[in-house]
Symmetry: C2
């Protein structure tokens, strides 16, 4: 007997037929004697519909009321799933965020989960009743409804698993696991059996959109064993094993690869500020106003300063921002032009970030140089480079994304023997 | 300064444009210095959509989960209205049923309102904040969500008005008030300025579907002044005065009419059991099994028993049931045939009930006889008659409904000078 949390996304909850097949899958785990809690998303498209209502009602909506509106989508699916479970003989009940309660911060619209009271829930589950919990929602200190931000149901599931001390947290998604890279680009991409939290964080934040990043961070912190697997099943109601996301210590040496995966992200734009004076505080004067504007700066590259003629030493600073924030970023920078003291703000939205990720590179040299060599041989120009302990990222021209991912996947020996599209 | 409750139905909440115009109307009351609480329905069609989800998920759904699902519609509109109010400079916040809380019985799906805690609400309203409250929902003793049954938002509004000791409760609807009869049948029907609770109850339960019957009963019990008025406004944002529903003592002698209105109802079917033995308990043996089956019996007519030849005394019993329940009723009666001891169960779904209603008839004789004379002159056959203190109802053939309503409306002097369709 195990305690498990199962989480189903919006596609799995889109309509009663699908909710019924989710119920059937839950029944299998329940019949095996497990204590089961289920976390559900709203029906696909529903949250968008509700968010649009709020935006239509006011461009500057009160986030507390927004939370009241958008949290209703998960309320509906949790009630419906409880009904569908009962219909096939599985005792079940819904527990809304305020009923448990799931305590959160009062950061409405993107609250952070605090304590979860599982007293009543545990008693109910011990009694063989499946608990159905709406994801994405919680309760602020002032007893008002909160939501966790888009994709927050993954975080709800991991937080529930941590609070319940669950043996594992199974996240059912549209994809059947985490791949070495995007299979749409590389047909020979391989599904990973295991991946570490750190690798998953790097893969997620650089474009492998399988799990919400926050949920992976929480899983790492709370040491929750997360499995990502497909919500679609074969004729016998079975699904293939997915990818297990675990601590580094759980991955045996035999399994450990130098590189775990290649990620890409086309949603970043490059900005280069030329001739920024080389003096203390210069960098802060660039990034503070961007942070104040809520703009998420990613790669930052600054070279050694150089002097031109008799002018004071200066340097060029390059960084990336989300493409959607490019115009706003340039605006913010223009307003701070005097404070920063740059010459020009060059910018290019047509870039892509390519990252190779793997905990194996901690103990192996040569990962970065193989990356540059491989790209160079294909004539792909590297515009900027950043590295972390388990990741090397480069910025290249957007049009070369697919080529770069393919050649790197082969170069690091990640290609499967057979294409996945069998 | 007054304390008022304003209630808006599903048509008024159907889409952001309409919610905006509801907000504008609330603003006028708020700017006049009033303390305002608003009770809202779900968007038109939304509750049906949610109910259908539940039915699709299971024909025998758990009413506790049904309540979780269907209460979400009002949650959405209350959040949206609060946003729309803030957008035009009116401080507002939503209070969900569990937040106040609105205590109810645990009769899920059709719970009855108990106590409403208005402490926090009153403080907030005294602070010039408009309270937006989802109708139709409450909280059961076990801290689970309840709903009040279809049309329950009217009851929520009246209960809020009673709990808040509001000066009045304005119910905005598709119609602009209570008429002497259905204006689609009688163009010269007149809008009533005032009507008593008792009359409204009789008019509502016999077919003038303006307010949920339960809400009128509650208003009478709690002595809440209810105004029914149109949610549509003229170019200046004004709406015509509607109909005030008040205690009998508030209606002056000058205004008091003999007859207040004529109601009709085609949704009843007639059943006659022939030769029911005239012995103690016979009537109970008919109606107990029907009550057990949840079938609402309305008119009951039993004549004096008569003996035929040497047979024991027997009588015919006629009554009406909702047309939708006719087949089920006949089934139930057939199963009890021996216990009841009737000969035949004659039945006819093609009947209509016509009622004349008015507190004035308490002090005036001749109301009933005028009804029979008027119908008789037009050759309309009366199949059954029942009377109460303020109502006379007859059962006639369905095809004669419109004719009967028209001639009675004229006979009791209710016709307006001009047709309402001006």
């Amino acid at each position: 007997m195990a305690r498990i949390v199962m989480k189903f996304g919006g596609t799995s909850m889109a309509g009663i037929e699908r909710i019924r097949s989710v119920a059937a899958r839950i029944k299998r785990e329940w019949e095996a004697g497990n204590e089961v809690a289920v976390v559900v998303s709203a029906m696909a498209g529903e949250t968008d519909r509700l968010v649009n209502f709020c935006r239509e009602a006011s461009s500057l909506y009160d986030p507390r009321e927004y939370d009241v509106v958008v949290s209703s989508g998960e309320q509906v699916t949790s009630g419906l799933l409880a009904i569908a479970l009962q219909a096939i003989g599985v005792p079940a009940r819904s527990w809304l965020g305020w009923q448990l309660p799931i305590r959160t911060s009062d950061g409405h619209g993107s609250a952070r989960i605090g304590e979860i009271d599982t007293t009543a829930l545990s008693a109910s589950m011990a009694d063989r009743t499946v608990a159905v919990i709406p994801g994405f929602q919680g309760l602020a200190p002032g007893e008002r409804v909160t939501t966790l931000g888009r994709g927050g149901s993954d975080t709800s599931a991991v937080a529930m698993a941590a609070a319940m001390k669950a043996d594992r947290c199974d996240i059912y998604t549209d994809v059947d696991g985490v791949y070495t890279t995007d299979p749409r680009i590389v047909p020979r991409a391989r599904k990973l059996k295991r991946v570490t939290y750190e690798e998953m964080l790097e893969l997620a934040s650089v474009g492998a959109k399988v799990l919400q990043t926050r949920s992976v961070g929480l899983a790492m912190k709370e040491n929750v064993r997360v499995q990502v697997l497909s919500s679609f099943v074969d004729e016998d109601g079975n699904s293939e094993p997915g990818t297990l996301i675990v601590g580094e210590e759980e991955i045996g040496d035999m399994e450990r690869q130098l590189i775990t995966g290649i990620a890409h992200d086309k949603n970043e734009a490059k900005i280069t500020l030329t001739n920024v004076p080389d003096k203390p505080g210069a960098v802060a004067s660039i990034f503070s106003p961007l942070a104040d504007a809520g703009i998420n700066v990613d790669m930052i590259v600054q070279n050694v300063a150089h002097a031109t003629g008799t002018a004071p030493k200066s340097t060029d600073v390059t960084f990336t921002v989300p493409t959607a924030d490019l115009a706003r970023s340039l605006d913010v920078l223009e307003k701070s032009r005097e404070a920063i003291g740059f010459d020009a703000a060059l910018h290019d939205p047509r870039v892509a970030k390519i990252s190779v990720v793997g905990v194996g590179m901690r103990s192996h040299a040569g990962v970065a140089s193989k990356m540059f060599t491989t790209l160079g041989e294909r004539g792909i120009n590297v515009q900027a480079i950043t590295t972390s302990e388990i990741k090397v990222s480069v910025l290249i021209h957007e049009d070369e994304t697919e080529l770069a991912v393919r050649v790197l996947h082969t170069a690091y020996g990640l290609d499967a023997e057979e294409p996945a599209t069998a």
